[in-house]
Subunit: 343 residues, 2 copies
Amino acid sequence: MTMSNTGGRRRPPTIHDVAREAGVSRGTVSRVLNGGHYVSPAAQEAVNAAIRKTGYVVNRHARSLITGRSDSVGFLLTEPQERFFEDPNFNVLLRGCTQALAAHDVPLLLMLAGTKDERRRITRYITAGHVDGVLLVSSHSGDPVAEELRAAGVPLVACGKPIGLGSKVSYVAADDRDGARDMVRHLLSLGRRRVGVVTGPQDTPGGVERLAGYREVLAEAGVAFDERLVVSGDYSRASGEAGAERLLAQAPDVDAVFVASDLMAQGVLAALQRAGRRVPEDVAVGGFDDSPAAVAASPELTTIRQPWDRISAEMVRVLLAQIGGEDPATVILPTELVKRESA
Amino acid sequence: MTMSNTGGRRRPPTIHDVAREAGVSRGTVSRVLNGGHYVSPAAQEAVNAAIRKTGYVVNRHARSLITGRSDSVGFLLTEPQERFFEDPNFNVLLRGCTQALAAHDVPLLLMLAGTKDERRRITRYITAGHVDGVLLVSSHSGDPVAEELRAAGVPLVACGKPIGLGSKVSYVAADDRDGARDMVRHLLSLGRRRVGVVTGPQDTPGGVERLAGYREVLAEAGVAFDERLVVSGDYSRASGEAGAERLLAQAPDVDAVFVASDLMAQGVLAALQRAGRRVPEDVAVGGFDDSPAAVAASPELTTIRQPWDRISAEMVRVLLAQIGGEDPATVILPTELVKRESA
DNA sequence: TCTCCCGATGTGATCGATCAAATGGGAACG
DNA sequence: CGTTCCCATTTGATCGATCACATCGGGAGA
């Protein structure tokens, strides 16, 4: 009763059709497809011509069935999804990974592990070998999915240093600590001495490292560390606003703020404005990320750029290498100070 | 020399292992897997127990090889990617689709058709049957990829009414025209009579429809249409800013502006502020989208909310139905006026 | 009691690739 | 001239599912 082949799709040509067309055997065609070793130039050319003529495209399912590879990778986002989906950097990362993979003809499967049910399903899916490896975006510590994948020996590359996973997990990250150092040094170079900080969550590597960089530079410059100058947020705009209010209450003489994300920095700007402080004259503000929010803010944010395009490219490179049998690796990429109006 | 099986992944159990464990044949296991018709309750239970015990997961490659289905769908984004990746709605859409598909155990492949090369590769990939259908995000007209897919009979569901594709393409869209009508009616209800509009690109369905709604309401209210009150943008913040400047020059007596996107509305607010006009006292501003930008703006934007969560759910529903053999369908979903400060 | 039918189950063929072993045909060498 | 290699190629087996067909068994109906 149901006609599934609506639209009239024809059966696509197989390797056998190509072989017949080229006057060679399937084996030869297969060899041409996979690098062309042990193939004469004549056969090579005949096969390529036949492929072009027939419009042949390899059936990946048949290939995967016997090779055991899937020639695809997963892009796994574990909780909390909201944070990432609102984060413009996430887009850049996702896009970069997709494109880098496409260059290797490797499809990307998007996987969102939100609910418990989804997590179970995804874990099964991955460990069953339906993807060859996983690009992991999960900043939070003790991620059970990631741990399970690691234990199952699935090639894994995290974005940002994963907390609480064994040391054998590859990751690619920006040099958060060094970026933070650059920014705080910059604020000090403006003559500020009461430098506050709005940190990110301390269960994320970025949050920890950026705070560490802040402390290091203060120590190195001989500026006393003052706990009242430290408040923490969760990377959201609202938390930046709230943080700045607390900061102003605890340390009214603050003359600069290093904010661990641009989104939070937007909130900080709003709070300062409401409090009647001028930026950067009264209080200099430095962000982190160089997201679109940085340019949209007024005054435009001085911030730290993370090389997201390079991060995605490196994640893919490391993952493919690991799938190819190489050992896990970690890559740390340098950040860049972008001076605008706010500091 | 290269040890590909680093980490020691074992061969996963096959349907044959399950059959042996349950004391039945492969055929019976297969039948249980696919709906359980013509299977006795006893066998049913034995098989399920065996599946649980062995941790069996179906090998999708083997299945796809014989069924000809891939049980996966593509999420295709054609140019221009920047617009979408910066658009928060895109995130909601992508997430919604992924989750809706996950509920049906269907993986989503992310496909970006940016360069000519990528477009060719992706077209081949899809027409070769590596996905069963495609969720299409492509606002612009005359998309060659989409047209090729349609011609090849690939099940296709577009987000927003596709321009220039045959009528046989399914799509799901918000009721742009009605949303625009609601907003312009709202502006008129505030007593404004010199209502300007910053439109979107006129080669996108949204751009066309929103402008049409604007004209309809003016006509219905007996307000004369004035060409000087119409400027066009490209949905970017910058184009909104530029558009507002042109508007102020052409029609200084403008007392309200309907802007076809929140991002552009942000730019409009900035330009108005610079020109010394108060919002909403001097000029009321209405946006479209209800994106995060709407709340971030000051004053907060009155805008039209598009039901993105429902849109994604419907896209998936229609696509799966179409893959199952049903005819193409179109779905139009209602929008909602969200009143805030700017109008 | 004997058919007939139908629900439940088993079995070999099949999908389209790769893999591994076998084959064929020179060139190099003694 | 025969043997050994090695490169190029063919061929049957294989991956793990589903499919189509054969088979079996028991209850209804004559």
